[in-house]
């Protein structure tokens, strides 16, 4: 019974606890995840918008330059200032097609370098420039009137050569870094290198694209901020839910446990009065109230059944019910048989003290042994022993002589004392003892209007006297023609 209740309690509490925990975990997780996603994507699109806004004027300038393959525009001071105006922009590369020829147009800019440079120059380009310079120098050597113009062109040529060489050097130095930029679609957040790559189409007719790399460190910082914030909120929500679950679980399981404990007790002892559950307005309250009324009904029925039972359930002696049914006949029967009637009220001495000292369960055990002892003293079919309640037994005897009755009483006392059941609350004896009030009556002396209750009364008085005389004693009353003769 106990184990079953315990198991079911655990099952319910675990079921409630884990199912809700799982539910809460799932809810918190999905909500946090969704919030994280939306928050993060908002931040990203914001960053992308910002990057786009930064890149738009650059796209305008580059598109125009790409259209006619202009490499001068894009490295004028105001162009460089434009690129550098947003400190998030780290570098960009341009790959485009001229609107007017098959030539491709490509250059790059790097914040680190602080300059733009062509990225498609070859050794042939350099060689061609060198040859041009040589040609101009040769012409200058053959003196003529165009020296000023030739010098002008020579300077321009040398500047251009220097530029070509510088650009080739920069391409070698910076472009491996740009190679990381593979085909991207609109934008790409490269978390490993903390950069946001944005691809924009150029607006020239033949088309082209610019890929810009922005510093994504602030964005990534925001990301970890969001993560931390959400983690904080999620754990708070989780903790709160956990407490709620524990509270709810306990509110259901604890009453169940209480009910189980109550139901576990002997049916006679089940009592829900005073339990908080009985006041509950919910289903559990209904259950507890039904159980309470069921227990009360059962208890009443048990009392009723016990009353009607012939056997005293504790001692196995005859019950009060049986006593009541035999007592009427007993006097008449004794008279008819011409025998002596013996009426013994046996009472365990200081038994209340025993119960107080050793507890009721021990008291019940002792009562059972006392009952067995009393039972064993009975030899004849007509003899009967009854427990009317408490520690009081009644023994009814039909004997040949009054001495027999007395003898049995003495034997009863001796046998009980002989059990040597410790009873420290029984002064002078320190073991369990018995006092007996005895009524002896000759059958013929009992006329028909003598009732068992009268005899009972006499015996009870005798018992009182026996107790008075120091307990573990017998007091005998002889019944003679309606008169009692007291005989110690």
């Amino acid at each position: 019974m106990t184990r079953f209740n315990l198991a079911s309690r655990l099952k319910i509490s675990h079921l409630l606890f884990y199912s809700h925990l799982l539910l809460v975990m799932w809810l918190v997780f999905t909500m946090s995840y969704n919030r994280y996603n939306s928050e993060w994507s908002t931040r990203i699109s914001h960053a992308v918008e910002l990057a786009r806004a930064v890149s738009n004027p650059i796209v305008d300038l580059v598109s125009l330059s790409a259209s006619g393959r202009n490499y001068t525009n894009i490295r004028l001071n105001n162009a460089l200032a434009l690129y550098a105006s947003s400190d998030r922009l780290l570098f960009f590369t341009v790959q485009a097609q001229s609107d007017f020829s098959e030539h491709e147009y490509s250059f790059a800019w790097s914040r680190e370098l602080g300059d733009a440079f062509r990225t498609n120059l070859t050794f042939e380009d350099r060689l061609a420039q060198q040859i041009e310079i040589e040609a101009l120098e040769q012409r200058l050597n053959t003196a003529g009137s165009d020296d000023v113009k030739l010098n002008f062109l020579l300077n321009r040529g040398k500047e251009l050569l220097q530029r070509i060489e510088e650009d080739m050097g920069h391409t070698k130095q910076y472009c491996p870094q740009f190679k990381r930029i593979t085909a991207i679609d609109d934008y790409y957040l490269d978390e490993d290198n903390a950069q946001l790559l944005l691809k924009q189409d150029l607006r020239n007719v033949a088309g082209g694209e610019i890929i810009l790399s922005f510093d994504a460190t602030p964005l990534l910082n925001v990301k970890s901020d969001i993560q931390f914030q959400l983690l904080k909120e999620a754990s708070l929500a989780f903790l709160f839910s956990l407490l709620l679950i524990i509270w709810a679980t306990r509110r259901i399981v604890k009453p169940l446990k209480n009910i189980a404990l109550q139901m576990n007790r002997d049916v006679k002892d089940i009592d829900f009065t005073g339990e908080p559950e009985i006041e509950r307005k919910d289903e559990l309250g209904v259950v507890v109230r039904s159980l309470d009324s069921l227990a009360k009904k059962v208890q009443l029925q048990i009392v009723e059944l016990e009353k009607r039972s012939a056997i005293d359930s504790l001692t196995g002696l005859g019950s009060r019910f049986l006593y009541e049914s035999v007592k009427a006949d007993f006097v008449a029967q004794t008279r008819r048989q011409g025998k002596y009637l013996g009426f013994l009220i046996c009472d365990l001495d200081n038994f209340k003290a025993f119960n107080d000292m050793y507890g009721h369960p021990e008291g019940d055990r002792v009562l059972r042994r006392a009952g067995l002892t009393v039972q064993s003293a009975l030899k004849r079919d007509t003899d009967g022993a009854y427990r009317l309640g408490g520690e009081e037994f009644i023994v009814l005897l039909q004997t040949q002589s009054a001495e027999d009755i007395q003898q049995i009483a003495v034997q009863l006392c001796a046998q009980l004392e002989g059990l040597e059941i410790e009873h420290l609350g029984n002064p002078g004896h320190l073991v369990l003892t018995l006092s007996i009030g005895v009524v002896c009556a000759k059958g013929v002396d009992l006329d028909s209007n003598v009732s068992m209750d009268q005899i009972y009364e006499l015996a009870d008085k005798a018992l009182y006297r026996a107790k008075d005389s120091g307990r573990n004693a017998i007091n005998v009353v002889h019944w003679k023609n309606g008169k009692e003769v007291i005989n110690e």
Binding site: S67, G68, N70, T72, D99, H103, V148, L150, F152, N155
Partner: protein, 170 residues
């Protein structure tokens, strides 16, 4: 050589190159440009004219650069090519030495000169009397001319700006 560079211009050029104290034309002024064949006539639209969207970006820029001329009213632009260089002009060079082409803004009379030397273009801006006016406006400076003619390598091949001109020959 049909055109000679005046001595005074040479001095001006040197100072412009070395000191850039003020701008001066590099190309010389061809006094006889009025006798050269006209290969193109077009209108520089006024400041208020909105160009059609499909106009090449470069042309839009060129128009925007010079629509201030004639007080933003727009004017006629006539292109004269040196009689010996018409074939070279058709193919965008290679150009022989000497003044190649002039672009003349009718009002208020500005002559843009493109000359070639050793195959390379040089530029100058004069009024119709041959006076160097390149220092009178930033967009008249030779360096500014280069920002289109030399840098838009696919439009102005060898220093002459192809698209609209070539179209005229078709």
């Amino acid at each position: 050589m049909r055109f000679r560079l005046p001595k005074i211009m040479a001095v001006a050029c040197i100072s412009s190159l070395s000191l850039t104290a003020f701008a001066a034309s590099i190309a010389s002024y061809p006094a006889d440009w009025r006798d050269w064949p006209v290969v193109g006539e077009s209108m520089v639209p006024g400041r208020d004219v909105v160009l059609p969207e499909e106009t090449p970006l470069f042309i839009q820029e060129a128009v925007a650069a010079y629509n201030w001329i004639n007080d933003g009213q727009g004017t006629k632009l006539t292109t004269h090519v040196h009689p010996d260089k018409i074939e070279q002009y058709k193919t965008h060079g290679p150009y022989s030495d000497g003044i190649t082409v002039v672009g003349v803004y009718e009002k208020p009379g500005v002559v843009f000169v493109t000359e070639h030397l050793s195959g390379k273009p040089i530029y100058g801006t004069y009024d119709v009397n041959g006076k160097d006016i390149s220092s009178t406006h930033p967009t008249f400076e030779p360096q500014y001319c280069e920002s289109c003619h030399n840098t838009y390598q696919d439009i102005c091949i060898n220093g002459t700006c192809s698209v609209p001109v070539i179209d005229l020959f078709k």
